[in-house]
């Protein structure tokens, strides 16, 4: 289908930065990162565009940056979407086996999956992804290909990720206005999982948490399926904002302070420690703030994010099944002590994620904040390539997903 390895571009329009990853895949499905372009994001709040003009400018900068670094020309890309309107939930679709001999045909499975997709979404919402979890024949889970098995009823368990059609269309239009085609939209959390999880991690079950600037995405992947996913519109911005309000600082100073001496845990060593806020550009006299307060504010916020995720994940599945543990990525993964806090909340091994199974500049790959853009590009590769070994011939129903 593709004589040459196509250029794979993933674009993440994030709240704090816009990031474009350029890569290519060889015929064995190995992904090589060619370049990363990024720009500070000014027109986005909580993962959604609020100032289209500025956002467009920033997207252009990031893409130009990436073109320059990779030495390519970008004509089309895959776009990551997020925002609090994006939601994931599990559903089951059923279909009776119609043939006389009760042999399950691919069509039966496709119909069952289509039924699972036929759900009542909130008005104006559209399905972003439908991911198969498992197929059951007469209530028995089928591990391998069910085609040809005998049964009366096929059940397809799927995870559906949906979002507001209008709010997904906004960034798509913005990119198209730059004369760049959007091949497909990808949920950012899904992309993260592509970038940071190895096949073993997926098989064991892993919870990927991306704490970004304005949103936190999470995906609980197990095997080929997604058990749970979602977005909370809380991120690093909220942490800075909390600090600004709590310590009565302006947002910029709060942000700086968060990066300089923030931590996700309040350890005894910071008791009574105070740090001076240096004279700023306006010559305001220095004052001191308590490090303990700073960390307390951060800690409760991050803990709340984790607890929200844990609560959502425990709806319908068990967090214990994430045997590979929790993978933290996004800019929030830089916060010192966040792994300790995550461990306390989830009681699972916690890994600060890096992009894996990818060749390229290792410094770039080790940055957790690039995982989304790289993951989008990878996802794009899989989508173009198709699944290497489609199990149920469900190309039309399930996105190719590995």
């Amino acid at each position: 289908m593709f004589s040459e390895a196509p250029l794979l571009v993933g674009l993440e329009i994030g709240t704090s930065k816009i990031c474009a990853a350029v890569g290519e895949e060889n015929d064995r499905g190995e992904f090589t990162l060619l370049g990363i372009g990024q720009a500070r994001s000014r027109g986005v709040r909580k993962g959604e565009i609020v100032d289209p003009a500025k956002a467009q400018e920033d997207v252009r900068t990031a893409l130009a940056n990436a073109e320059e670094q990779a030495g390519v020309t970008i004509g089309n890309l895959f776009l990551g979407v997020t925002g609090r309107h994006v939601e994931g939930f599990n559903n089951v679709g059923m279909h009776p086996v119609a043939s006389d001999d009760r042999l399950v045909t691919p069509q039966d499975i496709a119909d069952a999956a289509a039924n699972a997709k036929a759900i009542t979404l909130p008005a104006e919402h559209t399905v972003l992804h439908t991911i198969r979890q498992r197929v059951c024949i007469d209530g028995e889970e089928v591990v391998d290909d069910p085609v040809g098995m005998v049964g009366h009823k096929v059940e397809a368990h799927v995870h559906v990720i949906h979002g507001s059609a209008v709010r997904i269309q906004n960034p798509v239009n913005l990119v198209r206005a730059l004369s760049i085609e959007v091949n497909h939209t990808v949920f950012n959390g899904l992309a993260d999982a592509q970038a940071v999880l190895t096949p073993e991690d997926k098989e064991n079950g892993a919870l990927v948490i991306d704490i970004g600037g304005g949103t936190t995405e999470f995906v609980f992947q197990q095997g080929q399926g997604i058990r749970q996913s979602g977005v909370f519109a809380i991120g690093g911005d909220h942490i800075s904002n909390d600090i600004a309000i709590g310590l009565k600082l302006n947002l910029g100073v709060a942000e700086g302070l968060k990066i300089k001496c923030g931590s996700a845990v309040v350890d005894p060593s910071c008791h009574g420690r105070r740090i001076p806020i240096g004279e700023d550009d306006h010559g305001i006299k220095s004052r001191e703030v308590s490090v303990e307060h700073l960390r307390r504010i951060m800690s409760v916020r991050i803990q709340e994010i984790f607890e929200l995720i844990a609560e959502r994940c425990s709806e319908g599945c068990f967090l214990d099944e994430a045997r590979a543990g929790v993978f933290l990525c996004g800019g929030g993964a830089h916060i010192p002590g966040i792994d300790v806090l995550a461990q306390r909340v989830f009681h699972l091994p916690v890994t600060l994620a890096t992009c894996r199974n990818i060749t390229g500049n290792s410094t770039t790959l080790s940055h957790p904040e690039f995982s989304t853009a790289i993951g989008i590009a990878r996802y794009g590769g899989m989508r173009l390539r198709g699944r290497p070994r489609p199990r149920f011939n469900l190309r039309d129903v399930f996105p190719f997903f590995r």
Binding site: R45, V50, A233, H238, G246, R296, I297, V300
Partner: protein, 435 residues
């Protein structure tokens, strides 16, 4: 359950006790072309002579020597007890008997409870409809309140209409006659509605047992109303009338109702759409209530829509409740059991002369007696009624609670999750103090 159930057309009868009751029945009689079976029981031969009702029962000639009760409830009661057989004769074989009286005077206050009990003993469901006096008629108010208490223990259901409430619906210049006429009309209309409810052939039949179950023992907490509307938009008009009906505390009773029985009567032109619209609007008016619905067809109602409604407050315990014995126990001699419940074992547990009828009639609910005098009680009841007002869903103002700081997120969509705004700093929501 009903002892008269073998007789499908067991009649409904009305008995007026005292002058005021007769006035109301007369209005009713004129409103119902088919005619109703009614009687006027009074202590005064004078009043009976000018009575508009065809059947007259003179009470207690030997006690009051033809001079009436003279405003003395005791005398009224004694008079009624003298002539119980006449009342029983009238009530015999009836399925439902309405006892209609104006309370406050000698005959109404004294005789009506006795009449109600006598009727009940003849195996009929007794619904007492009574007016209570104006507040300025101090002594009569006290008599009336005591009479209401006694009626509640004697009848299956009591509906009282306070003249004072009717008075409040009119301005100061209203002629007293007009006021009485208004009250009488309202009562007559309600009675007519109830009569239709029980009497007319059912299109969507309302089983008598429904009504009985609803009313039995709950008289203190039930409210009745009946309205009639004509014209193209009559369903809407009927709802409007019901929701502002004085008997329903201008709709407040509906808002607080736990069960609502609605009977819709119309002529041959009754449309199902109308009934549907009517019930839908009513259901919006009483959000918590479960509905029992009946519909009847009466050719004489062509062009009109008649709606009768009984609202019962939720959570009404049915069972015997001990009540302070009234000062006059003598009036309670005779059988106290409730024949209409059809439970034979109660016949043996009859306590002649028992001061507390509630003990022998478990199906009658008597509100626990508050240690208040009559006026205080009325005040308390009034205050309670005010509290359970009908909710108006859309009229509430939205208060802006934008006090918590959101900083950077001021102009963004609120981050609601299970009722909290996640944009507000967590430490503030958790109440962590930084000092």
């Amino acid at each position: 359950m009903n002892p008269n159930e073998n007789d499908p057309i067991a009649p409904i009868r009305f008995i007026a006790v005292g002058h005021a009751g007769a006035q109301i029945l007369e209005v009713l009689r004129r409103a119902v072309p088919a005619g109703i079976e009614c009687a006027h029981a009074d202590t005064s031969p004078e009043a009976l002579r000018s009575s508009p009702l065809p059947r007259r029962i003179l009470l207690g000639q030997s006690v009051n020597h033809g001079l009436g009760a003279g405003g003395d409830p005791d005398l009224g009661r004694q008079s009624a007890e003298e002539d119980l057989p006449a009342i029983r004769t009238f009530a015999a074989g009836a399925r439902i008997v309405f006892v209609v009286a104006g309370l406050g005077g000698g005959t109404g206050s004294g005789a009506a409870p006795v009449v109600a009990r006598a009727v009940r003993e003849s195996n009929a469901l007794v619904l007492a409809i009574a007016t209570t006096p104006f507040e300025f008629e101090r002594r009569r108010v006290a008599y009336a309140l005591e009479a209401v208490d006694r009626l509640k223990s004697a009848a299956d259901a009591v509906l009282t209409v306070s003249n004072q409430r009717v008075r409040r619906m009119h301005d100061d210049k209203t002629h007293p006659h007009e006021l009485y006429r208004f009250a009488n009309d309202l009562l007559a209309q309600t009675l007519c509605g109830l009569w239709r409810l029980f009497g007319a052939p059912g299109l969507i039949p309302l089983e008598f047992s429904h009504v009985e179950r609803l009313l039995r023992g709950r008289h203190a907490e039930s409210a009745f109303a009946a309205v009639e509307a004509t014209g193209g938009n009559r369903a809407h008009a009927a709802v409007e009338q019901l929701l502002t009906h004085p008997f329903l505390d201008t709709g407040a009773a509906l808002g607080a109702a736990g069960e609502v029985l609605v009977s819709v009567s119309g002529g041959d032109d009754l449309q199902i759409g109308e009934v549907e619209r009517l019930l839908e609007s009513l259901q919006q008016g009483c959000p918590q209530a479960s509905f029992i619905v009946g519909a009847t067809i009466d050719p004489s109602l062509t062009g009109r829509l008649h709606v009768t409604l009984i609202a019962v407050k939720p959570g009404t315990a049915v069972g015997p409740t001990h009540r302070e014995s009234p000062s006059v126990a003598a009036g309670r001699s005779g059988s106290q059991e409730s024949p209409a419940t059809g439970v034979p074992s109660f016949a043996g547990e009859d306590f002649p002369g028992s001061p507390d009828p509630a003990e022998s009639a478990p199906s009658r609910l008597l509100p626990p007696a508050p240690e208040l005098n009559a006026e205080q009680r009325q005040r308390v009841l009034k205050a309670q009624k005010g509290r359970t007002g009908r909710r108006k869903p859309d009229s509430q103002m939205v208060m802006n609670f934008d006090i918590a700081p959101r900083g950077r997120f001021d102009n963004t969509e609120r981050n609601r999750h299970k009722g909290v705004d996640l944009d507000v700093p967590t430490y503030l929501r958790l109440g962590i103090v930084l000092n």
